[in-house]
Amino acid sequence: MADQGIRRTAADRDPQAGGDLDELPDLVPVAFDEEIYLRAFPDVAQAIADGVCESPLQHYMEHGRHEDRISHHSYLLLLHGRQIEGHIDFYGHNALAGGWVFCGWSSERWTEAQAPKFIAHFKNGDLSGEAISAFYHRDGLLGRGSGLVLYIQGRHQPLGALVSIDIRLSGEVLTIFVESNARQMADQDVAASVRPLLLLDPDAENCRELVLLLSTSGYGRLRRPLNTLDGFVDLCGYHLASGGWFFCGWMTRSWDSEAGPDKVSVHFVDGTLASDETVTGFYPRDDMEGRGIGFVMFVHGSGRPLGSLTSIELQRDGVASFVRASTASQRLRETELVARLRPIIGQITEPESNVALLSFLTRHPYTGVDTLSALSDRVFLEFDELIACPPGGLAVMGWMLAKPGVVRAIRLRSNTMNEPFDFESCIKLARPDVITGVGVQHGFEDPQCGFIGYVPCSTLSNADMYMEVETTQREVGFRKLPAPKLDGIAAIKRMLVAFDVRYNEVPRAYDRTVGPAVDLLNRNRLANRARVDAVEFGHVNPSPRFTVIIPLYGRLDFVEYQMAFMSSHPGAYECEFIYVLDDPPKRREAERLFNSVHARFQIPFRALLMEQNVGFAPANNVGLRAANGTYICYMNSDVFPGPLDWLEQLAQRLEDNPDLGMVGPLLLYGDGAVQHEGMLFKPLPEFGNWLFPDHPRKGMRPSGQTGLRRHICITGACMLMRRDLAVEMKGFDESYVIGDFEDTDLCLKLYEKGLNSAVDLDVQMYHLERKSQASSAQTWRMNLTLYNAWVHQKRWADLIAVHPLRNGPVIDRQITMGPPNR
């Protein structure tokens, strides 16, 4: 600005102000200060240089006075406001705080509500900027005022002695003049002197903030939330040995460990790295001129190339701020990165982050050799199996021995992978063999050292994988992981056969470990649609009223019985029977059987032969895709008709009751006892209190009740529904593995749509359900059932809790009690 000074205007001439200063003839004004004069009017320097005059005073006397240029004192008077009593005892610039700190006392106080602005006038310049002021109690003042600590952000410049402090409030300006005995202190001294004063009353307004400002870990809190932070990244690079990115740059503010960001995401052009653990250290940067503080940040991540860096996002309480990268940001290779960062990290004042960052920087990379045994605190880690769950996870099975408090972090790593491994959230297994083998001699007694864990991974690599174990001493050891070899059902089985959980262990185990792993393994397994070969025996009706879909696995001979019994019914020949063979090793046997059956009974049917075993839901869905009937009936191979017109009877129920989505028969065992007449759900405490289907009255003689009865769910052993509805429901849900819960899942989906399921007690058929084997060899089947229960529970528990039929069927008024045991 051209004139920094103030010229008196006519308005300023105030006869009551105590005389016209101009009338002091030829007198050098008191407190005329040449330097101030020069500073206020830059043309004076030019005039002197041009030889117009020889000194600023001369200039004033000859020109300035007549031009109404004000002298220092009045200049100051006009600049300043009302003088108040007070003083600044000492002051100085503090680099960490990034500004000047003034300490003294003031006779008047102000509050935040008045939005005070502060200007510090030095001999050689003024300072103004973001500021915080705080009052404290000073005994010596005897009520004349309060102690004052003031902070004004600004860089360190030689400004000369402090002259005064202006406090501009809304409406007026207050001024504190500073005597020449005010002490200017050095950086650390001023902080050290002020801090105890602030701590006298840390709850007083702003005192704590000022303390933080001056503490080794705080900078520029300035009453603003973290999300208004700004910053730049000067350099970055990936450090392979420690498995993460280093970023170095500056930010407008720092944070301490409690007030840091909730979440840090690093955005690159080709992707984002979300961190689980970041370490940030702050160091002073003089070149920032008080506008910011330097930082070094380490973010764990894979070394996957993601393009150039665009920004680092810091989130707190849902709001984000960004530290930006630019074309000026440098991307360094590892060796140069280490060289540049080492001295910088040395300047980080906060010890913990300093040590942490340095330890990351100086780590040795993995060379393919196990180094775990070299740790000073022994950690034993062995792996039994590694199962890849593409695309996003790995299941690890093994055991670990470590004394409590020794292991700080474990990470699963490869050249391109770096994921945290949370040992505590694994399923724990008893491994007495480990204790007797290795544990005892090293002082380990607890046999619960086996584990099965699941590690979600952003990428999966085929490269050599290893575990990186970091101790609390910041030592790092590596242990090689075995190559994953299993997939599909073999992998699922391997996981499920290894553990045995009950009660509250169940939800934990499945939510964290088994559930995600099996979900991915199953999706992967079904990703490539297995090929299906279709063979038609006889001429199947091209537009049948009914399609019956029967999956086959294991026993095939039931086909003979089913076809034989149905062969007496003329309607059977118009029906579209679809057998889906989901048992590839039995293909030849099945083909021979189908040929023989067709020759004998002459019912036309389609055989769909799966190239791979896919499971109950996918097999039925294959059948559904091939079906042409108006109605479809899902039927198990071990279900046999009672009345020969069972399909017609069941279809009639659907037509007469538009609220029904699905209907099924009453199913009996071979000895005439009930196998199924509708289902309920029961929570089983032994299995996490999850809901499991229950067949009430199973094994009892039929009650003699007749008619249609609605239930929350009916069994998939025999269910009839309209085909268009089945297609809309997309058949059975293929998330369930092998076979379990698909039927109740479908019934509940229908209910969501507003359609009910029912049992037709007048249609009695046989279901020769095999008794489930309860042998120990079948642990994995039990655990598989638990997996399916987990999927089902997550999806439906809430709906079941409010379903009107959850406690049993509503008795239809029209049902009559017939004589028992028809």
Binding site: Y561, F565, F640
Partner: protein
């Protein structure tokens, strides 16, 4: 009307009278009759195939009748053609394919078409199955599908539909007598199957039995067992099996009145035929030095399982002088052989149905000593046609033989009261009458 014969002793004339409506007038149209057996007498010599073949032969011999015989061959000599005619016109042979013995189902995919062709060509009015082994119970439905107007008749041999243990209703492996089939108990004999399997087996067989218009049982005992199993009583009749006609009658030799009591055993030397009981009784009598009772054993043991053969051989080394092993015998010589002994012993430890040996014994005027169970006890009335002894009880058999040896009059009396064997014609007539009625 009751078709089940009452307990009165069957007699040639009785069969014609008991309940069958038969005006002995010539029928307007001769029925066309197909007899089907699970084997063929040219291939094996079992009672069932012989009975079936005799029936065919007898019917075919009647003037104006059309009859065909269909047999089966388990040897794979003619497998490229399912049904062929190696024995001349009127006789057909089915070359057996894959057969499921558990539920008597014929898996051979060539059979339905081949059999259908045969039925279409011959157009029988009556299709009479002796046995459904090798052919499959589905064949009954097949006949009804191809020839809706035809009638299906099935003669029951053994308790096959009831019992999975060769249809003999003895337990596996102990071979104790079994009185009733029940899925829960059947799985104890056959651990490889489940109750559901037996449930399905019965349903399967019953399903196809529903296509059968009438069943024939050679004995009341067997019929009663099937009725208890679930067969409707009005669908079963009792008609005796046909046996081979005797050769030209030689001089008839009647039972000896004095001299040693010669007993004869005719048949397979198997466990179920009670050969052990016989040996034990003989050895007991040998110990008591009753050499006036002799045992002639006519039969073959070489078809028996290896373990049993070993057992038999050990026993045979220890036999006394009162036992003579004569080895297998030719069917054609049976009459002469039977007339060379005084009494036939049938110590079977299973139910039997209508043993061929009993009919042959009756034909030769020889009384029969048999176990007091099943079809034996029915065909041999105690004290009238012969004598009973408690099943499996060798001591009781020995005592009985002593009693008979000491008092020969007992035997003489019985030879007078014993019924005569049914004549072949009578049996054939009974069948024809049955067909007529259907």
């Amino acid at each position: 009307m009751t078709e089940v014969l009452n307990a009165a002793p069957p007699d040639a004339s009785d069969i014609a009278e008991a309940g069958f409506v038969l005006p002995p007038v010539a029928v307007e149209t001769q029925p066309r009759i197909m007899i089907i057996s699970h084997s063929h007498p040219e291939i094996s010599k079992g009672g069932a195939e012989i009975a079936a073949y005799q029936l065919y032969h007898g019917i075919a011999a009647r003037a104006g009748s059309h009859a065909w015989f269909v047999g089966c061959d388990r040897r794979r000599t003619r497998s490229e053609v399912p049904i062929s005619q190696p024995f001349g016109a009127g006789e057909y042979l089915y070359s057996v394919g894959e057969f499921d013995w558990f539920k008597f189902s014929n898996r051979d995919p060539r059979f339905p078409e081949a059999f259908a062709d045969l039925l279409m060509e011959t157009q029988p009015d009556i299709v009479h199955f002796h046995h459904y082994i090798n052919l499959g119970v589905e064949a009954f439905a097949l006949v009804k599908r191809i020839l809706p107007g035809a009638r299906v008749v099935v003669t029951l041999h053994e308790y096959l539909a009831i019992c999975n243990h060769h249809g003999q209703m003895v337990t596996n492996p102990n071979r104790t007598l079994c009185y009733k089939a029940n899925p829960a108990r059947c799985i104890e004999c056959f651990q490889e199957f489940s109750e559901s399997d037996f449930f399905l087996r019965k349903r399967y067989i019953e399903h196809f039995f529903n296509f059968v218009d009438h069943f024939v049982s050679p004995s009341q005992f067997l019929a009663d067992r099937y009725i208890a199993w679930g067969m409707p009583p009005n669908r079963v009749s009792v008609i005796e099996n046909l046996i081979r006609p005797p050769l030209v009658r030689e001089n008839f030799r009647s039972v000896e009145i004095k001299g040693p009591l010669r007993t004869g055993f005719f048949g397979q030397m198997s466990f179920l035929k009670g050969v052990n009981v016989l040996f034990e009784a003989a050895s007991q009598l040998d110990k008591e030095e009753r050499l006036d009772i002799s045992f002639e054993i006519f039969g073959d043991y070489r078809n028996q399982p290896a373990e049993f053969q070993k057992e038999l051989q050990e026993r045979m080394e220890k036999i006394g002088q009162n036992v003579r092993l004569n080895g297998p015998y030719d069917e054609t010589r049976v009459d002469a052989l039977m007339q060379s002994v005084d009494v036939i012993i049938m110590p079977s430890v299973w139910w039997e149905n209508s043993p061929l040996v009993i009919q042959e014994a009756l034909r030769n005027g020889r009384p029969v000593i048999c176990s007091d169970i099943g079809g034996m006890a029915e065909k041999v009335r105690d004290g009238i046609d012969g004598f009973h002894f408690p099943v499996g009880n060798a001591m009781a058999l020995a005592s009985l033989l002593k009693r008979l040896a000491d008092d020969r009059q007992l035997l003489i009396d019985v030879t007078c009261t014993a019924r005569k064997a049914h004549s072949m014609d009578a049996i054939i007539d009974a069948h024809l009458a049955l067909y007529q009625k259907l």
